[in-house]
Amino acid sequence: MRGIYNFFNSVGLFLNLFWQTLCSLKFFSVSIDKIFSQLFDMGNRTLPVAALISLSIGAVLALQTGIQLSEYGIQDRIGGIVGVSLCTELAPVMAAILMAGRVGSSITAEISTMSVYEEISALKTMDIDPIRYLVLPRFVACLITLPFLVIYMDLIGWLGGSFVSNLNQSISVSFSAFYNDLSQVVTFSDIASGLIKSVFFAITISITSCLVGLTTNGGPREIGTSVTKSVVASFISILILDYILTRFLILVGLL
């Protein structure tokens, strides 16, 4: 019972913060500086690791499926398979997981530290809305960074896949054959599906990590607990949301 109550309570708090953040979007123009500094920070935290992850996922994907396909002599289909799996599923989910781990955790750490040391209360004494001051720039920056990260991981993942397909002896599909098949199979709606997912993931990650930070109370020990809580909550939400969104995108015919 207690668990069910806590679950619905958290969902309520999440939706409330999401709504208030949307309302604070009218201060978008005066928050541009803060948004840029968040964008810069988020890019720094994610781009190098994202390149590494997507390169290796693309490579492994091509290796595993490519060898299977070559047993049937249809290895020239490899470009399409790698292309679609990456942009509809692997890139958005991996980008979101990376974002939650690298960016969400640091947002929660920063904001929960501010809660514990009464910096949030200090903002309130100056009549400065913490949602406008802290949540809004992180929310907007996340919403810009994550779709961008997905495209970035799509491209690098494809690159990794094409390299392996080209270099591996038993697959040996040329670059042009790989990208030729990819461009025939991957549709605009495949890419759009990945981006739609990433928008939902960005909302989930930014609001969850800010919410956990803002609701932290007690001593410095709580900061670590909050960070773990925020990352776990984001991971679980991403995985559940991924399934729901995939069903939905199939339903509306995008996938």
Binding site: V30, E110, T113, M114, Y117, E118, E119, S121, A122, L123, K124, T125, M126, D127, I128, Y133
Partner: protein, 236 residues
């Protein structure tokens, strides 16, 4: 007598634990009022209710017989709070902390904001640390920076939560002087919560003792000294 701040039948509990129980007390304007009390007695809660950081379960606060919200709205009453651990924003330099309120509210030009901030900082002997990060300051400097930040909003009421906790004798003396200078320079009401008995007697116009959610003992320092209260033992 002009009773500027009146707590009227304020009650506050946290998860069933009563902290303030039908609390009523008045503080005269323009004076320095010290509130003494054991730890966990609800001194911070008392200040936070006045600051608007905690909503009481019952009761209200009247400022010159107007409700707190009304006074803020009509008389543009301003209350500020000096936090126990200063609560400066660690992501900003000292000077950005000080100008934060004016920056965010977009009051005045950037140049004038800085001029005003540097004036206050030099009054508090902090101008040389303006570009430092709060984490590079000593406890005493952080406290003064927190006071500077509060003064930027030109408060009518300034609340101090244990301003000398973790400070040595010299820094405690500096804070005491700042409070006394402010009283002379401005028509400002200062409420100071503290453990430090000698500090209390150095600054107070009135001293009140908070016990079990109520103030039963309150008066001028000379009167309080006569009472043989266990909290005042260290000076006996």
């Amino acid at each position: 007598m002009n009773k500027s701040i009146e707590y009227k039948n304020i009650s506050k509990s946290f998860e069933g634990k009563v902290v303030l129980d039908n609390f009523s007390h008045s503080f005269e304007s323009g004076k320095v009022h010290v509130i003494l009390g054991k730890s966990g007695m609800g001194k911070s809660v008392l200040l936070k209710v006045l600051m608007g950081l905690i909503t009481p379960d019952n009761g209200e606060i009247l400022i010159n017989n107007k409700s707190l919200d009304l006074a803020k709205e009509i008389d543009s009453l301003k209350v500020s709070y000096v936090f126990q651990f200063s609560a400066l924003l660690n992501s900003l330099s000292v000077i950005d902390n000080i100008t934060l309120y004016l920056d965010e509210k977009n009051i005045d030009t950037k140049e004038n904001r800085l001029k005003k901030a540097y004036k206050i900082l030099s009054d508090l002997d902090l101008d040389h640390s303006a570009t430092k990060n709060p984490s590079e300051l000593s406890g005493g400097m952080r406290k003064r920076a927190a006071i500077a930040r509060s003064l930027m909003i030109e408060p009518d009421i300034l609340l101090y939560d244990e301003p000398t906790a973790e400070l040595d004798q010299i820094n405690t003396g500096i804070i005491a002087n700042i409070i006394l200078d402010l009283k002379k320079a401005k028509p400002i009401t200062q409420l100071v919560v503290t453990h430090d008995i000698s500090f209390a007697f150095a600054i107070a116009d009135t001293i009140s003792i908070l016990e079990d959610g109520l103030i039963n003992i309150s008066g001028k320092p000379e009167e309080i000294k006569e009472i043989n209260h266990p909290l005042l033992k260290p000076i006996a």
